[in-house]
Symmetry: C2
Subunit: 228 residues, 2 copies
Amino acid sequence: MSTHDSSYFQVALSTSLVVYGFDGENLLTLIGQKPQEPYKGAPMLPTTMVKPDQSVEDAAAAVLTESLGLSDYYLEQLNAFSKLYRKPEGRVVNIAHYSLIKHELMERKPAAGYQWIRPKEMPDLVYDHNQIFDFAQERLKRRVKHRPIGFRLLPKEFSFNQIHLLYEQTLGKKLDKRNFHKKLMRSKLLIDEHKAEKMDGSNKPSHLYSFNEKRYNKLNLRGYDFKF
Amino acid sequence: MSTHDSSYFQVALSTSLVVYGFDGENLLTLIGQKPQEPYKGAPMLPTTMVKPDQSVEDAAAAVLTESLGLSDYYLEQLNAFSKLYRKPEGRVVNIAHYSLIKHELMERKPAAGYQWIRPKEMPDLVYDHNQIFDFAQERLKRRVKHRPIGFRLLPKEFSFNQIHLLYEQTLGKKLDKRNFHKKLMRSKLLIDEHKAEKMDGSNKPSHLYSFNEKRYNKLNLRGYDFKF
DNA sequence: GCAAAAGTGTTAGGGTTACACCCATGT
DNA sequence: ACATGGGTGTAACCCTAACACTTTTGC
């Protein structure tokens, strides 16, 4: 292989993000709008070009800053989407990522043109963005089953019902309440905070848990499976 | 996002491959040599630059053709490795893949400069190729556990001992012979060919199985786990 | 008959699943 | 007292893991 041929250096990089958040009841994902013609205003994943001297992760982080005003984020690469659909200017390779947003940061409104929607209501997107989104959905399912990634979406203190809702929505199926509860407790990854949530309706207040990260890190060393 | 700025189009693409094969007893992986100074002759993953009008998959396939003379291959993208370690000519993004080679194609010798080695004996490689290799090793482990990908490496007809060796080597641990046998049989994914292997030593001949791909495809529709 | 590899069963323990009712709270 | 969501146990089944000896073959 030789790189001593400047004709190779004709490609541009972009990155699209599939961003997930949990508002306390629902798993949500972020969509933006195409800023220019053609198809100006059409829904798309939050996306940016990557500057030649910029790391892809920095470019992805900039998208989060622009759309949500965040500097605190979890990012993971999905895949490079490199189909040769030509723009007149040349080839663009999209190194897509997905990102999980802490519940605490979900209150502020997204910037103009961005909105949170339910993943099930994802519309048709420009380019191959639906393919990227589907890829992210699969990745999220696997991650949530095998790693305690749900805790990056939940509030620091959460009720059993919140984690239950989140798992049902990411996995896209009903999970038996009692069995899920047993499994969670058996894992010993939850700390019982011995306090109840603030009331909001007329019903029994739930009590709160937090994630035992230290214990997880210990377990993690021997065998990387969480198994939900 | 705007691509209407030609300054973005300065990146080159390469692809490195982590190629696995099974010679009947051992899981092997392919290494090449750096063809130019600096570090000419240093071990590296089989790699090529991607031409601006070439798909990444085609470029990866070309590496397999050059190194092994193959046109029949399984390829899967690993990740894009896009660190900003600058060459004087500009930025190179490596969209790495891994590939599984059918046992039937393992007899011919690799081209000059390439050789099959045991994954455990992987030497220090140039650039970030060890990182790519480690990434591939993790991916292979997961795939072999959850999908019947071992069958892409095994001969069409294989003995229980061959599949046992292959799984032990990909997972990097001993698997109890009797339990593994039961699990395989329970899965009903093997067809008993009711014949014995040709003898090569002075011992009991094993009998041969093949992979029941039709049955797998049926199972695959509902739930994508093989679970080994 | 011996060396080399193939083949084969049982048991205990733990995980998974299916399933329905009572409890605590605010109004 | 009622409406709302919170919280809890048991039994059957299946899977896993641990474990060692006998069989078949060529020489």
